[in-house]
């Protein structure tokens, strides 16, 4: 193999698994260390710079970082660091932050931007562009900003006060809001004198199930996201005692738990496919089950049973999943008799789609597969140069953190576009910084001891109280003592093991001390060959091998990054400082310097 080029900003970035997995590339270990040090305000601001909604995401994020966390790989049964809930600790315990946030300049830059939809993508664009002096107009059909964060996430998971606070930081940057204003025509917007338009309207259409009885039972059959919005805006206050929720995603989990709080006594979730393939996050499933909500699987609904104009229940078929050679799934009836389940109300939460009935198709904005707009994956520009898409509106339903990541990139594009620059070649590179952590002989600035604690569970509100009021937050968040202990579980993967081959005397001290057998000195070979010849086989191909230049004995140093604990022992035992621990801070450049 060729020597690894550590000058490539992506090499060490990839070693920071959590940050690499995060769509917005939030520097996770950096803020976790700050939390451990009790510097909650700083931890919050690092988050805010990167993901704009630390308090919201600390409760609701899909947390792609956690399955990626190295901690989950280092031992069978070891769980990742509770990254998401630590983020909330920063938000819960921070001091005043407003004074550290950028403000809109007194003098605008003369450019006007329209943001359609007031969700996370649009708000991110607003946050990134307002400090540059853009005049920003935000349109939303509801009376408050937040989009799906407000309409689809129940208050027992995300208190309104947190939403109001974090959307407020952005709106107070001089954003012109047009609330209660449903944009029904893109042409109308285009006719106004906006220099650029950003569409962040999400995926607002809940899928329906056209089964027999659907029309007859319509009064008691609800679409999941509409039901959640109606509850959020207090148009709906109650539901029947027996409720069936159809679907296995996070929306289904929110619906069933909401139903429990509105008077549903026997709330049941029914999934058409196997339990193991449910789309909902495991922790959301666990939270629903904790609230006495059974989940039945392998039962697709067949018919809504309506008697005398009143919904009686649902008939389900029984199936099993079979997979063909290509892994495609078919649900095959088992031949068992159909099952009838009683219900006063049924909530359909089987997915959602994009919908752009308001964009006229003769404007020059091209639409492609599944009626999604044709959008560039890097610039987020549509086929009409001044129109940009982001969030769920761009490529279909994802999650909040993805919408934020889109927003940052769209903001850069809009800023480049308004300056007449090229959207692809003029994009700013990420900023990186590699800093030695040596503080003395065998002393590091970071806390390099690896603790053996298991993951700490977040305490929950007492169930009876939680179910009595839909506004009572279920998760209580870590107290600061537990947060410290959980933060100490972080392996500091951003503190990189940097190898200087010219200093190495090949004494093997690093090989001998490495607890997880990551380091090998051997004759070079091609990657597949090397992976099998190391101190421990490097079977996880998603993790790179760090290969040095050839050493005096003709060998190379090969480090398998997979289960490195970043404990710094290789550098502590190195007599010539050929190994050094250096903190790598990678930051996605924003349209404007935020902090």
């Amino acid at each position: 193999m060729k020597p690894t080029n550590i000058q490539n900003p992506e090499y060490f970035h990839k070693v920071v698994d959590c940050q690499y997995a995060c769509p917005a590339h939030t520097p996770v270990p950096e803020y976790i260390r700050l939390i451990a040090n009790g510097k909650y305000t700083e931890a919050y601001l690092i988050n805010w710079e990167s993901n704009v909604f630390p308090g919201i995401l600390g409760r609701t994020c899909d947390r792609p970082c956690e399955p990626a966390c190295r901690r989950g790989r280092i031992e069978q049964g070891e769980e990742p660091v509770a990254i998401c809930r630590l983020k909330r600790v920063a938000a819960d315990n921070k001091g005043p932050v407003k004074q550290y946030m950028p403000t809109a300049p007194a003098q605008g830059n003369g450019k006007k931007i329209a943001l359609i939809g007031g969700g996370p993508a649009s708000l991110t664009v607003a946050r990134d562009l307002a400090p540059l002096g853009y005049e920003i107009h935000l349109y939303d059909e509801w009376h408050k900003a937040g989009g799906m964060m407000r309409t689809q996430i129940p208050a027992f998971r995300l208190p309104e006060s947190v939403l109001d606070e974090e959307t407020g930081y952005i709106l107070s940057m001089g954003i012109h809001t047009h609330f209660n204003h449903y944009v029904s025509s893109m042409r109308e917007i285009l006719n106004k004198d906006y220099d650029a338009i950003f569409v962040g309207t999400g995926a607002p259409k809940g899928r329906d199930l056209n089964l027999p009885g659907r029309k007859e039972g319509a009064r008691n059959i609800h679409i999941g996201i509409e039901f959640l919005a109606n509850v959020a805006f207090e148009h709906v206050h109650s539901i029947g005692k027996k409720v069936i929720v159809l679907g296995g995603g996070n929306t289904a989990m929110d619906c069933c738990r909401t139903a429990r709080r509105l008077g549903g006594e026997q709330v049941t979730v029914v999934v058409r496919s196997p339990f193991s393939t449910m789309k909902a996050s495991p922790w959301e499933i666990a939270d629903a089950q904790r609230e006495d909500i059974p989940i039945y699987n392998n039962m697709p609904p067949k018919e809504f049973v309506v008697e005398n104009g009143k919904l009686r229940g649902v008939i389900f078929e029984k199936v099993r999943a079979e997979y063909d050679d290509k892994g495609r799934r078919t649900l095959v009836p088992t031949g068992e008799p159909d099952v009838f389940m009683e219900a006063d109300d049924v909530i359909i939460a089987v997915g959602q789609d994009n919908a752009f009935p308001w964009i006229e198709r003769d404007l020059g904005i091209a639409f492609g597969k599944w009626d999604l707009p044709v959008v560039d994956r890097i610039s987020f520009q549509s086929t009409m140069p001044k129109v940009f898409f982001g969030g769920d509106a761009a490529f279909g339903p994802e999650n909040i953190i993805t919408a934020v990541a889109h927003g940052h990139q769209a903001a850069i594009s809009i800023h480049l576009f308004c300056q007449g620059k090229d959207l692809l070649t003029d994009r700013p590179a990420p900023t990186t910084n590699l800093v030695r952590q040596k503080m003395g002989i065998h002393e590091w600035i970071y806390d390099n001891a690896v603790v053996s604690d298991d993951r700490y569970a977040v305490p929950h509100e007492e169930k009876k109280l939680a179910l009595s009021n839909r506004k009572v937050e279920v998760e209580l968040g870590f107290d600061t003592d537990t947060a410290f202990k959980e933060a100490q579980r972080c392996l500091n993967c951003d503190v990189q093991t940097v190898f200087y081959h010219s200093r190495c005397i090949e004494c093997d001290a690093c090989v001998d001390v490495c607890p997880t057998s990551c380091i090998t000195f051997t004759i070079n070979g091609d990657e597949d060959d090397l992976r099998m010849r190391l101190s421990a086989p490097a079977l996880n191909k998603s993790q790179d091998l760090y290969v040095s230049d050839t050493l005096p004995t003709g060998r190379v140093m090969v480090k398998d990054e997979d289960v490195c604990l970043h404990c710094g022992l290789c550098a502590e035992r190195c007599p010539t400082a050929a190994w050094d621990m250096q903190k790598y801070l990678y930051n996605v450049t924003k349209a404007v310097k935020i902090l």
Binding site: E75, I505, D508, A509, A536, C567
Partner: protein, 350 residues
């Protein structure tokens, strides 16, 4: 500074026949200087014990005083151990060995602990052919007292502070052969490929097995002009042979050119496979070994690998006709056979 090694190990670490991973043969984290050759020898011992499927309770590690003698704290945390007095490791081992012949005895010593203060003890352990492995971690200096020349420092070797050693060195390998040792090898801490099979073979050898391991002192004796530095040893090391240790039950799958291969069966059924590289040298012929070592001295090379091997060995218990049962397990009736037996003995003198 880290005082505790993280508890996590590579999740794919293989297990040996007795169900242990390599990590189960480790000890506490080393407190020696970073880069010390002794740590590499420690790692080689761990590797060797893992590979021979050792049950840790079947080994006793015994040491004297010095950097080398600290290392038993860093390996085999579940084995027996005795950190004895300076230079007195051989006598403590002798006592332990007489009391219980069933254990593997691993003596760890240094050049000071063996060639200076312990010389009087060392030579007698050799000539008594104690069934033990005697490892000297040889760095040619007194590292614990800031690097003065030791008795194994070569004449002409330059110390870190710049003075040249005027005294002839003691070659522990030659001395051992002279005293009748039945297994003599030299290796280098930076060459685990060679060292691990040697340790394994030494543990299987039914007599005194001597291993002189050159182990650079990174702090006091790794400078230019030193003959015990990483660079010097790498440049002057000449392997006498390639060695394979073939454990019992494992098929032999290595083929060597005829005439250059020596196959030595060990008492436990395992085999030692030597592929000779040095010309005019026969590892079973004491005189040829002495010649080879003397020639190397003249030529300035450091022969490493197996040097001398005598398979027709009788260890101490055999020589003094002790009972096969470990003495520590003999009961009172066997040790004090009583008045009648005494009468019988007395009668035999009358």
């Amino acid at each position: 500074m880290s005082f505790i090694k993280p508890q996590f190990r590579h999740p794919a670490l293989p297990k040996n026949r007795v169900g242990y991973t390599k990590a189960d043969y480790e000890g506490a984290i080393s407190t020696l200087c970073a880069g010390c050759g002794h740590d590499s020898i420690t790692a080689a011992i761990v590797q060797a014990c893992f590979e021979i499927d050792l049950e840790p309770h079947k080994l006793a590690k015994i040491s004297g005083i010095g950097c080398s003698s600290k290392t038993p704290a860093y390996f085999l945390r579940n084995s027996h151990g005795f950190n004895s007095v300076h230079g007195r490791m051989p006598s403590v081992t002798t006592g332990a060995y007489l009391a219980n012949r069933d254990l593997i005895y691993l003596g760890i010593s240094g050049d000071g602990d063996t060639a200076s203060i312990g010389m009087g003890q060392f030579v007698h352990a050799v000539r008594r052919n104690l069934n033990m492995v005697y490892i000297v971690m040889n760095n040619g200096c007194y590292g614990l007292t800031k690097g003065q020349d030791s008795a194994t420092a070569d004449a002409g070797s330059i110390s870190k502070e710049g003075h040249t050693n005027q005294f002839r060195s003691i070659d522990l390998c030659s001395l051992s052969i002279e005293l009748g040792a039945t297994f003599v090898a030299r290796s280098f801490s930076g060459d685990k490929h060679q060292l691990v099979p040697l340790i394994k073979a030494a543990m299987a050898h039914p007599g005194f097995a001597f291993l002189d391991v050159i182990s650079p002192c990174v702090t006091f004796n790794n400078n230019k002009g030193s003959t015990k530095s990483y660079d010097y040893v790498r440049a002057h090391q000449e392997a006498t042979s390639e060695l394979d240790f073939v454990p019992e039950k494992e098929a032999i799958h290595i083929h060597y050119k005829e005439g250059k291969s020596v196959l030595a069966p060990l008492h436990d059924g395992s085999l030692l496979h030597l592929y000779k590289l040095a010309p005019g040298w026969d590892p079973t012929d004491r005189r040829s070994v002495i010649d080879m070592l003397q020639n190397a001295k003249v030529e300035g090379t450091i022969p490493t690998g197996m040097l001398y091997l005598d398979m027709n060995t009788r260890d101490l218990h055999d020589l003094i006709h002790t009972v096969p049962q470990p003495l520590n397990s003999l009961r009172e009736e066997a040790l004090c056979p009583g008045q009648a037996a005494l009468e019988e003995i007395n009668a035999s003198y009358r």
